[in-house]
């Protein structure tokens, strides 16, 4: 009986959400008075993982696992759970983790609950709070199965530092053949993906056309932010689908969300409701987004955004 936290890596380093996943695992293992094992593939240095409290680290180094493959990854994680007698698996909310979690749950006979935002409020019955109705509500869900797979909603639990002195362990694994072939991976033009960003700068029809997006991109660059857009903008082809935020697009759970020229349809508001701080810039004082935001500016994007960008550049320069 132990808790296993599976973290992803990117270019041999832990992905940003790893620390939140380990923090959650630590909190849960403490509640259950059991040990926390962190599982990763091909990380160069596991040293900073010990800032978040693992008891053991299993970092499997194998060239066959250097690129994500659902069949290989799910199988190897299941093998690790089996040889380490794992009852509860913690996994993140990234695209890859959400892709492999259902397969992993079947392979390990676990019941999978996704979009979890807190530690269990009760262990008997085991009760988790999760985001549901496309972020318009939360629910308490109980799991009757001894074996559980908990998927954490990105940026919901936070990072809790707790220094530990983990034991590095290893196990024998067999990597299965895959019937899926990865032909190519194409990365978008933006420097930062919405999932990885601390700040997202998002714009809507108020921008009047795709040719005006330079002011949005400039502001995002100054802030080190990802760019996003509303549904009409993606439907009209002004911006790629991958930037569409909302109920049928992506949810955004970021620290700062800046909405420019977006009126705030209910589907869009649901998609960004998990973001911590929201700023709205809109010409229309009646725009529904003003009711859902923390800070608001009534003004024309073409006037406000370049001015804000210049002031932020000065602020950033002064802070460095």
């Amino acid at each position: 009986m132990a808790v296993l936290a599976y973290i992803e890596s990117n270019k041999s380093k832990p992905k940003k959400n790893s620390y939140e996943i380990i923090s959650y695992g630590r909190g849960l293992a403490d509640k259950l008075s059991t040990e926390l094992i962190v599982l990763s593939f091909n990380i160069d240095s596991v040293e900073d993982l010990s800032n978040y409290g693992p008891d053991k680290i299993l970092n499997i180094k194998n060239n066959d696992l250097s690129n994500f493959n659902i069949q290989k990854y799910a199988d190897v994680i299941a093998q690790a759970c089996n040889s380490l007698s794992i009852d509860i698996i913690i996994i993140g909310g990234s695209a890859d983790s959400k892709y492999l979690a259902p397969s992993l749950s079947v392979k390990t006979n676990s019941s999978y609950v996704s979009n979890v935002v807190e530690l269990p409020s009760s262990l008997e019955p085991f009760t988790l709070k999760r985001s549901t109705y496309s972020n318009k509500a939360f629910s308490d869900i109980t799991i009757k199965n001894e074996k559980k797979l908990i998927g954490i909603y990105n940026n919901s639990f936070g990072i809790v530092e707790k220094k530990s002195n983990p034991e590095l362990i290893s196990i024998d694994i067999i990597i299965p053949d895959s019937t899926l072939t990865t032909d190519s991976v194409e990365h978008g033009s933006g420097d930062i993906s919405i999932a990885d960003a601390d700040i997202v700068v998002s714009a809507g029809r108020g921008l009047k056309g795709p040719e005006n997006w330079n002011i949005i991109e400039d502001l995002a660059k100054t802030l080190g932010a990802a760019t996003a857009c509303s549904k009409p903008v993606s439907d009209m082809g002004w911006r790629p689908h991958s930037e569409h935020v909302g109920q049928t697009g992506k949810p955004v759970a970021t620290n700062l969300y800046i909405a420019i020229g977006i009126s705030g349809a209910i589907q869009h508001l649901a998609g960004v409701s998990s973001s911590k701080v929201k700023v709205v810039i809109n010409t229309d004082p009646e725009a529904p987004f003003f009711k859902a935001a923390d800070y608001g500016i009534i003004g024309d994007a073409f006037d406000v955004v370049p001015k804000l960008n210049e002031k932020l550049k000065v602020f950033k320069a002064g802070n460095n």
Binding site: P102, G190, L223, T248, V277, D294, Y295, F315
Partner: protein
């Protein structure tokens, strides 16, 4: 080719969400139910395959009788047959297991389900079906080409897309991008008339595998008052974001 499209019946995206009976049950009063958008993108993509090679399309839903108008709508859009598994959908594994049991008795080449329903947001049903049946699987699918037995499909990843190839039979988790919003079909009168004659089979269930139970709902906390900042005083915004919100 035999295609199966999994259909979930969900509140329209514009719905306000509220709960009754001490926040234990979703309030359906005044809510319009629709085909889950992620499923509808998949159904539309299946129609394109059918138009090209005369494939058959069955749609399947786990639900009670009140989902039948939605299933009739999928028939009006162009599906050939609907199957309703007569069970209240309470848990993603339950739904995926019932569908995979049906598939194992009625072979399909391609199964398409939405990447998630917009009400439960489990992100589980297509993945569990694929694993239970041992089929190839991708989700967040934004591109699909099938030639003979070979599939080339794109899936959305963080900051880009990944292209994979594999053989049928396979399970696809659909979303926007598989087809565009403007490609979605509104049933015409001929389709609606034909749908009345098409089969809608109801299958009874012996056993539900329920390992989870949703026991209570919460509405998100009300947002505090918004602070308005004059557009001529942007330094104030920067000050608030830095010193008060501490996000820059």
């Amino acid at each position: 080719m035999k295609i199966l499209v999994c259909i979930s019946c969900v509140p329209d995206t514009t719905s306000k969400i509220s709960f009754i009976e001490n926040d234990t049950i979703f309030d359906k009063n005044g809510v319009q139910f629709v085909i889950n958008p992620n499923d509808e993108f998949g159904l539309t993509r299946a129609m394109w395959i059918k138009e090209k090679d005369n494939s058959s399309i069955d749609v399947i839903n786990v639900g009670l009788q009140d989902t039948e108008p939605i299933l009739r709508k999928t028939l009006a859009i162009g599906a050939d047959k609907a199957i309703r598994i007569n069970s209240d959908p309470k848990d993603s594994f339950q739904v995926a297991k019932l569908i995979s049991d049906y598939v194992s008795k009625n072979n399909y080449d391609l199964i398409i389900a939405g990447r998630e329903s917009i009400d439960f947001n489990g992100n589980m049903v297509p993945g569990i079906i694929s694993e239970l049946l041992g089929m190839n699987f991708i989700t967040n699918c934004v591109g699909l080409d099938i030639i003979g037995n070979k599939i080339t499909a794109k899936r959305e990843i963080e900051g880009g897309t990944e292209t994979l190839s594999f053989d049928l039979p396979a399970v696809i988790g659909g979303q926007k991008g598989l087809v565009e919003e403007s490609d979605l079909k509104i049933p015409n009168m001929r389709g609606i008339m034909q749908a009345r004659q098409k089969p809608l089979d109801v299958i009874e269930v012996n056993k539900n595998n329920l390992f989870t139970e949703t026991i209570k709902f919460y509405k998100p906390e009300e947002k505090g008052e918004i602070k308005m900042i004059d557009s001529d005083n942007l330094d104030e915004l920067i000050n608030l974001l830095h010193n008060e919100a501490k996000v820059i």
